[in-house]
Symmetry: C2
Subunit: 204 residues, 2 copies
């Protein structure tokens, strides 16, 4: 059993050690770091966590994280509300926003269909996507899920659910990544990149 | 610039990313983990950090971390208060306590003398150690600092400061560690372990 000189210390270390990827030694190091900081700074840290959990919302339209009932993207009149990009999670929204190449809206599924992990269609925000499309305001759904078997399964499921509505359904391009070395690219990716070749375009 | 769907999220991620060894991607992962936890659990986490910083004390005798003015070890009548083990930091106290081989008290210096880092004797709890020894209640001071140049410098400084009081001054043994392979042990350590050999004792 570990000796702790203070119960307050032990409790804080225990709490940090519950976080994924943080062991008890790292937790101790983080807590001792906080002990050396200004009281105000540590209070701000603690409060930021508590407030986040208490006050953060999920957008009622796209299920992205938000400070309000509807998120900044869904309420932004300069975005293209007829295009919906379907992603797995919040980080994917952030990654696509960082590219500055997309001006439409999103739909955060909350994962992909994965029978091995017990995740079925009803565990994801699929019904709400179908309802968004049924309004008739959506012209294109872009599927931007992981290029994995689970992602492909989910793409196929969504295609079946959405295709009868007549909405245009596209999927993000797969191919070799920028700066990839061809000799180390896997066969499936390289094969697809040849089959799905595009006309040479000097602007790319 | 990174896009954040929520200011609450951004603030929490920023706070986590201030911690040593936590980058913005890890911070994001930790914050999203907390978002999936129970509100009560997240409040407990935040409060444990705030309370630690607000309420934790440092023992007025040995400067170890403590929930009270004087720590558990310094107030424990079953500890040997005539022996003081001098260590650099709180983790060292915890490491020595974990061995269950020491029944004396401690003195936490708060570091070692390191001119390169601008740490001199006055930045450490050296004067309070001298005062503890001057009371005459201490019979032995055990120096348990890092086996580094800075640790050795500090040992030497403490020896000069304390020796005129007549207190017994000892230093923790240096030698090969349990399960070390001799061929990979550095020359200084291996050399010392031969010079400072001890009589064979079957109980060790």
């Amino acid at each position: 059993m570990m000796y702790y000189p203070s119960q307050l210390l032990e409790r804080a270390v225990d709490e940090f050690a519950k976080l994924p990827g943080i062991g008890s030694k790292t937790a101790m190091r983080l807590v001792l770091h906080l002990l050396r900081q200004d009281t105000k700074a540590v209070e701000a840290f603690g409060q930021s966590i508590i407030r986040l959990r208490q006050e953060v919302k999920f957008c009622r339209v796209c299920h992205n994280i938000s400070d309000n009932e509807t998120c900044d993207i869904c309420t932004n009149p300069r975005r293209d509300h007829s295009t919906v990009c379907v992603v797995e999670n919040i980080q994917d929204v952030m990654a696509i926003e960082a590219t500055q190449q997309y001006r439409g809206t999103y739909h955060v599924l909350g994962g992909v269909i994965s029978p091995m992990d017990g995740i079925g269609p009803s565990d994801l925000q699929i019904q709400t996507l179908v309802e968004r499309v049924q309004t008739g305001d959506i012209h294109e759904v872009i599927l931007a899920l992981s290029p994995t078997m689970e992602g492909d399964t989910t793409n196929f499921y969504l295609y079946r659910k959405l295709s009868e509505s007549g909405v245009k359904i596209s999927v993000i391009a797969r191919g070799v990544a920028q700066n990839d070395e061809l000799q180390y690219t896997d066969e499936v990716t390289l094969g697809r990149s040849i089959v799905n070749r595009t006309p040479f375009n000097i602007s790319l």
